[in-house]
């Protein structure tokens, strides 16, 4: 099953948000590092293009789930780091629960004959 056939934004609205939040569980990261982390988390199944990553980051920040600050990157350059807020943590919880419900429902539906 290849997910990459679809544009990530079109695929299951909200999945990208969920993955970004998940990627930030252990601390702050800058944009490209988030993409990299998502790839790692999904064992390379999701390759997040900057074209969808950055708009998602900005709108999540505006929703109050992420906060950002300017810091220094690993190669000593000025970069924008994102971290999860309390609201973001709550959002992660709800989205995780939603996802579990949906995925178990779909799994059950596919099992049925």
């Amino acid at each position: 099953m290849s997910i990459r056939k679809y544009k990530p934004t079109e695929l299951l609205q909200g999945t990208l948000d969920l993955l970004i939040l998940k990627a930030l569980v252990h601390g702050e990261l800058h944009g490209l590092a988030i993409a990299h982390r998502v790839e790692q988390l999904t064992n390379g199944a999701f390759e997040v293009k900057p074209g969808s990553l950055f708009p998602a980051l900005h709108s999540m920040e505006e929703a109050g789930w992420l906060a950002s600050c300017w810091g220094e990157s690993e190669n000593r350059r000025k970069a924008k780091f994102y971290r999860m807020t309390k609201a973001g943590r709550r959002q992660l919880q709800t989205e995780t629960n939603d996802w579990r419900r949906v995925s178990s429902a779909i799994t059950a539906a596919l099992r049925a004959t």
Binding site: G51, E62, R77, A87
Partner: protein, 902 residues
């Protein structure tokens, strides 16, 4: 939480745009650099690495735009951009903008002005608490087709006890002589039941109103006065309460002052602008102590329904009550009896609904024509801007965005127009209000209220969308290749666009023709009314009113009988005859003032009389309700109504002689169709009335209404049947400014307590009686003229555009030898073709509209050929002129220039 965050973020995006953009730029440039480094780390050249990084990001600028779109407030930001751009475009073509905004200003301003009238009169509820419970009560005697005959005291009592109403109050309009303040003044008095103010649930601004429980005989010795009277006659004295005033020689104490702006609910301006309210239980002096059931002397009544009762439910219970009362008192109801409830608001509004509806439709049509005109202008501009649109689309602007921007432009135009229109209405408010006839009920203040402002806003938005839609949709269908290939200013425009423009002009002409036909019919009616044969001569006649007191204690009444009043009348006639310029004098009651609409509309039962004829009817108790005036013998000669048979009143018709009557031709013909009226007798249905003998028949005259020719009229002699309300008629070469004061001196020389008021020339009275018709006619004509002007501008625009579009073709035609008159014919033919099709459509619509307004016409059929022909003639003339100007330009085309231009 999240919504709040987005709002805050949106504000930041909008107001600190440069910071946000800078951060975005920094963030992405880091990402770009990081990607480049990564690629270079894999051994690529810098140029190649940069290329790949760009591909990875999907283009830095495109990515930025994607991010912006995801942000809060993006749509507002786009709107601001659109508005800015539109304003710039509109500013650049300021001529077009000016014309469009002015057109919309006229349309929206006029519509808003008329709406504020409709809102105040028809839409807003009456300004009393729970107005939906308020009703007016009308009694009819259907068997003798007598309507609105009034109510008797016992009937009022029955309605009170019926359990249907919370309160019922008769209302009795009267004029009164107020002699408490500086000089005798005539005041408008409303005699009501003590529960009147409790019924309306209105509180006074000062003091109190009547105690609703009062039930003793006669008048409560207290009055409530209006704010206007308080300020005018008592200088707004704060210690007014408890002061006594004399009204008709009786003493009353002022107990309350009503608030400013409080009007009684009445049908006429007189009844609404009440100055004094007095209360009685409608029996006891001056009324009979034992009121009779069939003596219906209480002219009108209002009531408040019990809560929760609908008018229909109340009416059915009332019908049952009426039936049982008729059974119980069969002797008092020989000719049926029906009591009808009507929402009080309908009674107050009266018959203005239809003219107002007509006005509102007319102004709506003007607005629509305005919209069509602006749509036409926009289409012409869209052709000119075809290239611009093409370029913008080629550079990647989505079609939706272009349509959106064009709609923004038209909305801005209409909102600007609406604002300008409102400003005009605001500025011209006073003169506009003066145009509205007094007879239009306005219990509600006619102001620019919130609902009016809201209406103006809605109208602006809707018309903006209406006229913006056609050009905006056309832009969506723009053919890119075609648009970009065009030379110069895009020109020709698609054939489709030209078709739309022609259709719009046709619609415009059809609409304005309908308006012009309506205006033409009203004008023709009005003209006919002004030129009817009156049957009397109003020239150089003035009427001045006075009123004799009517004390509650009739034993102190100086003018109780005709014999007592006669010396006063004779003395007054003698004195007035000697006034400068006066050639003839007569005295009568107000019903004798020809065409005095304010008197006719007042429902006082004053000018009406129930009579029965001697030995004529098979049913002895069948009464007839007739119009009655009381006059002195000189009256007929003074107003110039000739006698046809018999004689007029003379000096022998005195109190001692048998009562004589003069009737008009129509009266004689309707009651004695096969015989001579002279010598026939009849009498009033009031108890102890004497027989009255017809002594003369006079010619019919339109003294009741200009529109009605043969209303039966009965004249009695003031010396035999006395009247308290008097009108002094003077004929001659009168100084209309000085006469009122001169007459006042003479009246008050005879009796110093009498007020003198209401001086008017008969021609003025006649003109006033037409005020509502004149208002409708003037407004509709104004709107029709505006519509025609707009339509002419529309056709002018289309034809000029066509000429400039075809300059090249005309040049070729001329070069090939076409004569100038050929060219003129082609251009004029095009314009006239459009006008003729529009006129055809308009004529069909006019036939429908004119039948709908048939009741507003007088003496003119809805298909009046003269009006239709006249309008058609004017119409074609205007179209010709509007087309001739551009046609002349076409003729002057120089073939050389036209061909080189290409």
């Amino acid at each position: 939480m999240s919504v709040l965050h987005r709002i805050i973020a949106g504000c930041r995006n909008l107001f600190r745009k440069s910071d946000v953009e800078q951060e975005l730029s920094d963030e992405l440039s880091y990402a770009f650099d990081a990607l480049v480094e990564k690629e270079m780390g894999q051994g690529l050249s810098e140029a190649e690495a940069r290329r790949r990084a760009g591909i990875d990001l999907g283009g830095v600028e495109q990515l930025k735009e994607n991010i912006r779109e995801a942000r809060a407030g993006y749509h507002i930001d786009v709107l601001i951009q659109d508005v800015r751009f539109s304003l710039r475009m509109l500013w650049k073509s300021s001529g077009f903008t000016l014309v469009a905004v002015l057109t919309m200003a006229v349309g929206i301003g006029a519509t808003t002005a008329i709406f504020s009238v409709v809102d105040a009169t028809l839409l807003r509820p009456l300004p009393y608490s729970h107005p939906e419970q308020l009703v007016s009560i009308q009694s009819d005697l259907p068997e003798i087709s007598a309507h609105d005959v009034g109510m008797s005291q016992p009937e009022w009592h029955d309605l009170q006890q019926s359990g249907i109403f919370e309160f019922v109050s008769p209302t009795w309009f009267d004029e009164n002589n107020l002699t408490g303040s500086s000089k005798p003044a005539r005041v408008r008095l409303l005699i009501v039941a003590p529960n009147y103010f409790a019924l309306l649930r209105t509180e006074p601004q000062l003091g109190r109103t009547f105690k609703p429980q009062y039930n003793s005989p006669g008048f409560i010795p207290e009055v409530v006065i209006s704010d206007a009277l308080w300020k005018r006659n008592f200088g707004g004295d704060p210690n007014i309460l408890g002061k006594s005033v004399r009204m008709d020689t009786d003493q009353y104490q002022i107990v309350g002052v009503m608030p400013r702006g409080f009007d009684s609910p009445g049908r006429t301006p007189e009844e609404r602008n009440i100055e004094v309210w007095a209360a009685t239980s409608f029996y006891g002096p001056p009324l009979p102590d034992q009121p009779l059931r069939n003596r219906r002397n209480l002219p009108t009544a209002i009531a408040r329904l019990k809560p929760g009762l609908t008018i229909a439910a109340a009416q059915s219970r009332l019908d049952a009550l009426a039936v049982s009362l008729q059974k119980q008192f069969s002797a008092d109801y020989p000719n049926g009896w029906r009591v009808l409830l009507q929402p009080l608001k309908d009674t107050v509004i009266g018959n203005v609904r239809q003219p107002l509806f007509l006005l509102f439709s007319a102004v709506g049509v003007v607005l629509l024509i305005g919209c069509v005109n602006v749509a036409n202008l926009l289409l012409a501009r869209a052709s000119a801007r075809g290239r611009e649109m093409g370029i913008r689309q080629a550079l990647g602007a989505p079609r939706g965005r272009l349509t959106r921007q064009l709609l923004t432009e038209s909305l801005i135009l209409s909102l600007l127009g609406g604002t300008a229109g409102l400003a005009i209405v605001f500025a011209a408010k006073e003169p506009l209000l003066r145009l509205i006839p007094e007879t239009l009920p306005r219990l509600n203040d006619m102001s620019i209220s919130w609902s009016v402002l809201f209406f103006a806003l809605m109208v602006s938005i809707v018309s903006g969308v209406v006229f913006g839609l056609a050009p905006a949709l056309h832009s969506g269908r723009l053919d890119l290749i075609h648009a970009l290939n065009q030379e110069g200013w895009g020109s020709t425009g698609s054939g489709e666009r030209a078709r739309t423009r022609r259709a719009l002009v046709i619609a415009e002409f059809a609409l304005s023709l309908v308006l012009m036909i309506a205006a033409g019919l009203l004008l023709h009616s009005f003209w006919d009314l002004l030129n009817v044969r009156l049957g009397f001569n109003p020239q150089s006649v003035m009427s001045v009113r006075t009123r004799l007191p009517y004390p509650n204690n009739s034993s102190i009444d100086k003018y109780a009988t005709a014999a007592q009043e006669a010396p006063f009348i004779r003395e007054l006639l003698r004195r007035c005859k000697s006034l400068p310029g006066v050639e003839g004098v007569a005295i009568g009651d107000p019903a004798a003032i020809p065409l005095d609409q304010t008197q006719r509309d007042l429902n006082t039962l004053e000018g009406k009389l129930f009579i029965t004829f001697e030995g004529q009817s098979s049913k002895p108790d069948a009464a007839s309700l007739v119009e009655r005036s009381r006059v002195t013998p000189e009256y007929f000669q003074l107003v110039g109504i000739p006698v046809l048979r018999g004689r007029l009143f003379n000096e022998f018709d005195t109190d001692a002689a048998p009562q004589a009557a003069v009737v008009n031709e129509s009266f004689a013909r309707s009651y004695w169709p096969d015989g001579d009226a002279i010598g026939k007798r009849f009498k009033s249905t009031r108890p102890d009335s004497p027989w009255i003998t017809v002594v003369g028949v006079i010619a019919n005259a339109r003294t009741q209404s200009l529109a009605e020719t043969d209303v039966p009229q009965l004249y009695l002699n003031v010396y035999q049947d006395s009247a308290k309300h008097l009108a002094i008629f003077l004929r001659g070469c009168l100084n209309t400014v000085a006469i009122p004061d001169l007459v006042r001196e003479q009246v008050q020389a005879v009796d110093a307590t009498l007020p003198v008021f209401g001086a008017q020339t008969l021609t003025q009275t006649l003109s006033d009686s037409l005020s509502q018709r004149r208002f409708s006619m003037e407004m509709i004509t104004l709107f029709a003229a505006t519509a025609l002007l707009l339509a002419a501008l529309g056709i002018y625009g289309v034809i000029s555009y066509m000429v400039s579009e075809r300059t090249h073709e005309i040049g070729i035609r001329l070069a090939l030898g076409a004569s100038r008159s050929n060219i003129l014919g082609i251009v004029l033919g095009q314009g006239l073709g459009l006008a003729t099709v529009g006129a055809g459509v308009g004529f069909v619509c006019s036939l429908i509209v004119s039948h709908l307004m048939a009741s507003l016409l007088y003496g003119v059929r809805p298909t009046d050929p003269l009006t239709f022909a006249g309008v058609a003639f004017l119409f074609i003339g205007v179209a010709l002129v509007a087309c001739y100007l551009p046609a002349r330009r076409a003729v002057r085309v120089d073939p050389m220039v036209a061909l080189k231009y290409e």
